[in-house]
Amino acid sequence: MAVSHTLPVNPGERWQVVLHDDDHNLIPVVHYLLRKICDHNWETARDLTMAVHEKGGAVVGLHDRETAEAVTVELLRHGLSASFRRAG
């Protein structure tokens, strides 16, 4: 079966970006990248960083699919462990 190269779009559908804990990314680096990539303020980035660290993962963004994929790409290419999924 052929693999699609195009992005299927369903207008109105919301997608979550999830950041997962891992053994190698340091807390200050995660905090910095959440501010830089996800545009969170200092406090929100801190809370999300600790949620990832303590609970194994956290939703760090809610977007349309295209944006969710773009954010996921940026997190991944900085060495973070991330994924995206339909919200709700």
Binding site: S4, P28, Y32, L33, V73, L76, R77, H78, R86
Partner: protein
């Protein structure tokens, strides 16, 4: 044993990075290996036996296995974003500065590129048995770069004293 050091300090115009010759040489080679592994269809990439190249998973599947709700969606995602996930020009830019003339003074944009490539290199090293010892170094280098551009970054709470008494005891 040779002392290996890496430092990143804010200076006028950016961040000055200093490192030992051993780091220049050793990590420069690692960056070259990462860059060459991003070549589409490289049949001699270390993880792939050339005899079985058609059946072995790609590098990106090793690096980013489960990014979506299903394996098929993950594969589609990797293909859509392959150029960004395996950006050889980015790695080559970082490698050129890493091994290039001294002193190294990076702009903040270049620091962000170094943080990204070090993250990718760490993922890559995880796949190579001989590279795993270097993984904490990549994390440490990222940390030093982050603290140089954003010293107000949230610190690791495990490195902070739990109370004033603990701090002064």
């Amino acid at each position: 044993m040779k002392h290996q050091s890496f430092s990143a300090q804010p200076v006028d115009g950016g961040v000055q990075v200093d490192m030992s010759k051993g780091l220049v040489w050793g990590w420069g080679r690692a960056l070259r290996l990462l860059s060459s592994s991003y070549v589409r269809g490289n049949p001699f990439y270390a993880l792939r036996d050339p005899r079985w190249v058609l059946t072995q998973p790609s590098l990106l599947r090793h690096l980013y296995p489960d990014v979506a709700e299903s394996p098929r969606q993950s594969e589609e995602f990797r293909r859509r974003h392959r150029d960004a996930l395996a950006d050889r020009e980015l790695v080559n830019r970082v490698r050129a500065r890493w091994t290039g003339p001294r002193p190294i003074v990076l702009t903040h944009a270049e620091v962000d590129e170094w943080i990204a490539v070090l993250g990718q290199l760490r993922l890559f090293l995880e796949l190579l048995a001989f590279g795993r010892k270097a993984i904490p170094w990549a994390s440490a280098f990222q940390h030093l770069l982050v603290m140089a551009v954003a010293p107000d970054t949230f610190p690791d709470p495990r490195s902070q004293p739990a109370s004033a008494e603990e701090a002064t005891s």
